[in-house]
Subunit: 425 residues, 2 copies
């Protein structure tokens, strides 16, 4: 069988590789000509730290099953078309420009009996209300007579892409039960997880609810962390004990929620609901978005204890990726923190071993002469920081720990003021 | 050993019985003279449907280890005093009248080396800031020299009281590590669950966070249910599929959140936090409190479809307890619904087989001549309703299902308009 994959990002590229691995002839399409050139040269445009991505990619390339292009003509020869383009949010509303562009390009070349699978996360009802009418209109073909549509939202996250792609259960919404058998065959090759068939809208809702669930539960942990700071108890001790009570799964508080899914999908869901305001989801978004500002407030507070004004302070920030051990910087909480610092004209340096602009100096070099060391990301390398060395080069001994990563007792013995999110006393 | 238990409600009475079972001499104290009289006659003042409560009570009585009184004099002879009085919330603030009264009465008779254990759920810091200073002031004794305090918040819920009391892990906050050994011996007799020792404030916070977690997660399920109604999908299908994704535990939506703990403990926590507003917790409370009004809105909508004005309609409401299979009516969502109906002058009948005022007629008698049948509580008996019989006696065939308890397909075949929370199409 032959497949086309539209959009070669964190979802589409691994999917293309996986399909090629399982014997598909894969046509990878991306509007970014530069990305296509890189891929044609066996080079990865992103995800260099992602386990298996590079090695699987090279293997798949060698097998000659993978072909990359930025044009759509050849999709007429494939059996199935996967859409995995970016579906961002702008001002709390879905920005479907890429999705519509891909849909239009597909429609122009659509052939009878093709199946279009939407792996991109979309606002509920988008497939039925926007994509299908557009496909029918431009192709002059009819859904469920001439072509078919499925909604199979991706379920992957950085650092675990191939593990999740190949093992997680999948929700498969179909426009017609007649394509169930074929999709079962195809997705059984992709994943060992169970396949759950349903309708298009249910599949769309499930995906956005999954991520809204995570966002709300992280916001709960963050709100409890703020409470703990006020009450003088340690949120990590609280979490440990709460989770010993049955049916509790309190998430981890932290310096903010980034990435491409969790900060965005709740808005995709909320934007689709007209009759009710999604108050809890909106409040959760606001709480999580505010965590970088809280990190700043903790730094300001600690500096005040040391009688240093924030305006004259130098901040050393560790971590720019949105998640530990990754180079993925999409919606990075550190980016938000830096925006605050810029607005307030506060001096800062950033270190991240995996992000190009911030990797050409060591942790100690970053801390040198600084008044605060702020840990934003739980990269494993930050768990091995030598605080004795840091103590020698830092100007003012203050640590703000956004990821419960610093040995608080140890650094306090070294004379540091230590403040962690949810653990300030 | 001898123990006193102050407050003989859903927590204190089972605790007294459990202590007596394990060989303690137990002095049960309650200000309610009538309750003391009933207990003295081997009669239960509440909880008649609670598994084992009556039988264990009678066994314990027979063993002569249990004694009930409404005065405090004899507590001078006990080794340990458990406080399990009611700690309600009034206008979002803790009402500590009962707690302070109990504390004062204890203080008057406090003896050296006694341990006071607070099983009541209290707002964080209450023990340190209010109870201990009051005990010291009135008794002229000193904490950790003359007497000791522990915070061991109860973890039980109706229908499962003895199961949870005797098996769940417990959090034990202590004023002094020297009482750890003794409390380990005592609580090891009460429960087979693990005992986790910590400080007083941490124990207080853990308990309120446990219940705030549940409230927020139920509110999330309720908000998603509202979204599903708007989007025309079934929240129960959504929940099933969301929970197949790893690390998701979406709770059940429903007609409201009642009982003595979940609607109250989030306010105990929120009231204790001064520096930050607990926005997520407050929003969750508001969403859950609004569910009875949403049930009303669904009824109104269904009646409108049948061209019946709510003002001329008769509503038949099934369930008055706050939770299935229980007679516990504390903070019952049905009570809130009835308040709405009273305000709007809507006619209604209520049925609950376990609640005195509503048990002297059958489901069919309740439905007879009604225009809407509303299921508020998931009593098992409501799962066996004969809808053919209901169809014959009801005037207008409308069912509003607040607990996903009605076989929707079946009742639709019988001609009913069916609307469930999160499942209206």
């Amino acid at each position: 069988m032959n497949a086309a994959v539209i959009g070669l990002g964190y979802v589409g590229l691994p999917l293309s590789i996986r399909l090629a691995q399982t014997g598909f002839g894969v046509l990878g399409i991306d509007k970014d000509q530069k990305k296509i050139e890189l891929l044609g040269k066996n080079l990865l445009p992103f995800g260099l730290r992602e386990p298996n991505l590079l090695s699987f990619f090279k293997q798949a390339q060698v097998s000659k099953n993978l072909k990359f292009t930025s044009t759509y003509e050849e999709i007429k020869d494939v059996d199935i078309i996967f859409i995995s383009v970016d579906t961002p949010v702008e001002k709390r509303q879905p920005d479907i420009a890429s999705l519509l562009a891909a849909t239009k390009s597909i429609a122009k070349h659509l052939k009878k009996n093709q199946i279009i699978v939407i792996e991109s996360t979309v606002a509920p009802k988008t497939t039925q209300d926007l994509i299908i009418p557009l496909l029918e209109k431009l192709s002059k073909l009819k859904l469920n007579r001439d072509f078919f549509v499925a909604v199979v939202p991706e379920r992957i996250r950085p650092n675990y892409i191939f593990k999740q792609l190949t093992t997680l259960p999948r929700v498969i919404g179909v426009s017609d039960l007649r394509i169930k058998k074929e999709l079962r065959i195809i997705y059984s090759k992709i994943t060992t997880g169970k396949l759950n068939f349903t309708d298009l809208a249910t599949a769309e809702v499930v995906k956005t609810v999954e991520n809204a669930y995570r966002d709300v539960n992280i916001a709960f942990a963050n709100e409890i962390a703020l409470a703990c700071e006020d009450l003088g108890v340690d949120v990590w001790k609280i979490r440990e004990l709460v989770n010993k009570s049955p049916w509790r799964d309190m998430h981890k508080p932290g310096s903010g929620v980034g990435g491409h899914c969790i900060p965005k999908d709740p808005w995709l869901l909320a934007s689709s609901v007209k009759k009710h305001q999604m108050r809890l989801i909106e409040t959760a978004r606001s709480i999580n978005d505010n965590m970088p500002a809280h990190i700043f407030a903790l730094a300001e507070e600690a500096l005040k204890e040391k009688k240093i004004k924030i305006a004259s302070a130098n901040l050393a920030i560790l971590g720019y990726a949105y998640v530990g051990n990754s180079d993925d910087t999409r919606n990075s909480p550190t980016e938000s923190l830096i925006q605050i610092l810029k607005n307030k004209k506060v001096k800062y340096k950033v270190h991240d071993p995996y992000v190009k602009d911030f990797s050409n100096h060591s942790v100690e070099m970053t801390a040198k002469g600084a008044d605060v060391l702020i840990i934003m990301v739980n990269h494993d390398v930050y768990k091995k920081i030598n605080y004795k060395k840091v103590a020698k080069v830092i100007k003012t001994k203050i640590i703000i720990d956004g990821r419960n990563l610093v040995p608080a007792e140890l650094v306090r013995k070294l004379g540091f003021v230590y403040k962690g999110v949810g653990n300030t006393s």
